[in-house]
């Protein structure tokens, strides 16, 4: 077990399609997080940016963009990219420097202004890059992979399109109560079923959109938090494990899995191992959780996460959903923020947004979305090329 770090402040720029620069969104979120922490920007000794990828390079190289926008004041800087897991990796970078005694107070920021439509690779020929080749050779957009995963669940576990729609209905209901969400309107199962198929069996309302948005956290050592006179939400674990060979679960942007003909596959698959490492580091387990935020890139993927983070046995995700256990007011609410279904993807910001929600929930500040007596929450995500992470926060 590692020591805890404190979450002193959380802030966001509301998600949407605002058509402005990501640096502006990130600065708004950073200022909100600093105000929430009741700290001055000049108290921050480390700024970590989750990178915004632009033109195939980290745009403005994110950490420094936010430091400049807030006003150069000499803090250390770090910039982190791990695709959709960037935000959690940025938290972990800040945590490592705080625990190493290199900085007392860190500001972590992620912001994006997403393109319209499908995520697409940057221009130019890059035949050595699997993420370019999957578009070139297969036309395999992200929804194509989501469709494969969803169909597999239907065939293997008996999930139905109605189950998937119910995830959207649940998350939209939560998102309607979240002032930072992009979509703040209840959705019915009928509306999901009436939306066009994007990648069979998934429909438009099964798949998360791409959004503009930002999220920021002010993190500190526990000693600093005590001096600051607060009993903060604490981050107890951040797992950033890689997969184990042979990796037998198909994933973006791969053309194939590893071969399991000679070496048997690991007992625990990649996504489950992300959560398991966090539980081990925190000395907790799924039974200790009061809520979870997971990456519902598609409705079907949310059900897979229930099983991977241990809320139910494999194959029982849809049952847990149908029982209402994962809705607000249920036994273990999942995505009380409204999830990516209500926010959409703003890649460098979304893992940070998950931890903002944990913070507000654990403080009892989540308003209509409040999970009663929440003491322990988990956020889990996964990004391209074998990235993934899980954060456990407690109060």
């Amino acid at each position: 077990m590692t020591e805890d770090i404190a979450v002193l402040g959380a802030g966001m720029h509301p998600w949407g399609k605002w058509g402005r620069d990501f640096a502006e969104y990130g600065t708004v979120a950073a200022r909100a997080a600093l105000a929430d922490a009741q700290l001055d920007w000049c108290d921050v000794r480390l700024v970590v940016g989750a990178d915004t990828v632009r033109c195939g390079y980290p745009g403005h190289v994110a950490g420094a963009t936010f430091a400049r926008a807030l006003g150069w004041q000499g803090a250390r800087v770090s910039s982190v990219y791990a695709a959709c897991a960037s935000g959690a990796q940025a938290i972990n970078t800040a945590r490592a420097q705080i625990l190493a005694g290199m900085a007392d107070v860190a500001l972590v920021v992620g912001a994006d202004a997403a393109p319209k439509g499908f995520f697409a690779p940057a221009g130019g020929d890059r035949p050595d890059d699997p993420d370019w080749l999957r578009f070139r050779v297969l036309g395999a957009t992200n929804p194509v992979y989501f469709g494969l995963f969803a169909r597999r669940r239907m065939a293997q576990l008996g999930d139905t399109p109605e189950d998937f729609a119910l995830v959207k209905v649940k998350n939209a209901a939560a998102g309607a109560a979240n002032p930072n969400a992009r979509y703040r309107k209840a959705v019915t199962a009928g509306e999901v079923a009436a939306s066009p198929v994007v990648a069979d069996p998934l429909r438009l309302l099964d798949i998360c959109a791409t959004s503009d948005g930002a999220a920021a956290l002010v993190l500190s050592s526990m000693a600093f938090a005590r001096r600051h006179g607060v009993a903060p939400v604490r981050i107890r674990a951040v797992s950033t494990v890689t997969p184990r060979y042979p990796r037998t679960a198909l994933d973006l942007p791969d053309f194939a899995t590893d071969s399991a003909a000679l070496v048997p596959p690991p007992e625990v698959g990649f996504r489950a191992s992300i959560a398991a490492a966090a539980y081990e580091e925190a000395g907790t387990g799924p039974a200790d959780l009061d809520l979870a935020e997971v990456y519902d890139l598609s409705t079907a993927l949310e059900l897979e996460w229930y099983e991977d983070v241990g809320l139910c046995p494999v194959g029982e995700g849809a049952k847990l959903l149908r029982e209402g256990a994962t809705a607000l007011g249920g036994r273990i609410p999942v995505n009380p923020s409204g999830g990516l279904a209500s926010f959409g993807e703003a890649v460098p910001a979304q893992a940070l947004a998950q931890v903002c929600e944990l913070t507000w929930q654990l403080r009892g500040q989540a308003g209509e979305r409040q999970v009663r007596a929440a003491r322990c929450g988990l956020a889990a995500n996964q990004g391209l090329f074998g990235h993934g992470s899980a954060v456990i926060a407690v109060r």
Binding site: A140, A199, T248, D258
Partner: protein, 148 residues
């Protein structure tokens, strides 16, 4: 017309449906098979092998999952924006011998409605795109014994 494989070295015997195969590589030290091909280093963490030989993959397998693309994918997917969009089907196929899942587009005419998880499929040569000067060739999966 000039025929160009969409990726060089990923499949062989392009002109001959009977001998057409995906090409992976096999590590000389541990025997692990890789697709897409690993030519310089073995990716088994317990092996430091650096010599890998080209090896054809199984021609047949079973459907692990499938989906389709109802909207036109962005570039670099080659398609003519002036033509109406025709959805294609994508199949993930489990190869018994290699114990791996390999993606591919389905042969023209094969729709999601004509597939089922567990169905036997075979590899066939296919065309990804063509323009006035050249044809880009690829691989397709097709239900065993002809179009669905």
């Amino acid at each position: 017309m000039k025929r160009i494989p969409v990726v060089p070295g990923w499949f062989g015997a392009d002109g001959d449906p009977d001998r057409f195969r995906l090409l992976g590589t096999r590590c000389r030290s541990c025997g692990a098979v890789f697709f897409p091909r690993a030519d310089a280093f073995c990716r088994n963490p317990a092996c430091d092998g650096t010599e890998l030989d080209e090896t054809p993959l199984s021609r047949t397998g079973t459907v692990w999952s499938y989906t389709d693309s109802r909207y036109r994918p962005p570039a670099p997917y080659p398609s003519d924006p002036d033509l109406p969009w025709e959805p294609f089907t994508v199949v993930a196929v489990e190869l018994d011998e290699e114990r791996m899942v390999v993606l591919g587009q389905a042969a023209p005419g094969v729709t999601a409605a004509g597939l089922a998880v567990g169905m036997a499929v075979e590899l066939v040569p296919g065309v990804l795109h063509q323009d006035a000067e050249q044809v880009w060739t690829t691989w397709h999966w097709r239900p065993l014994g002809g179009p669905a």
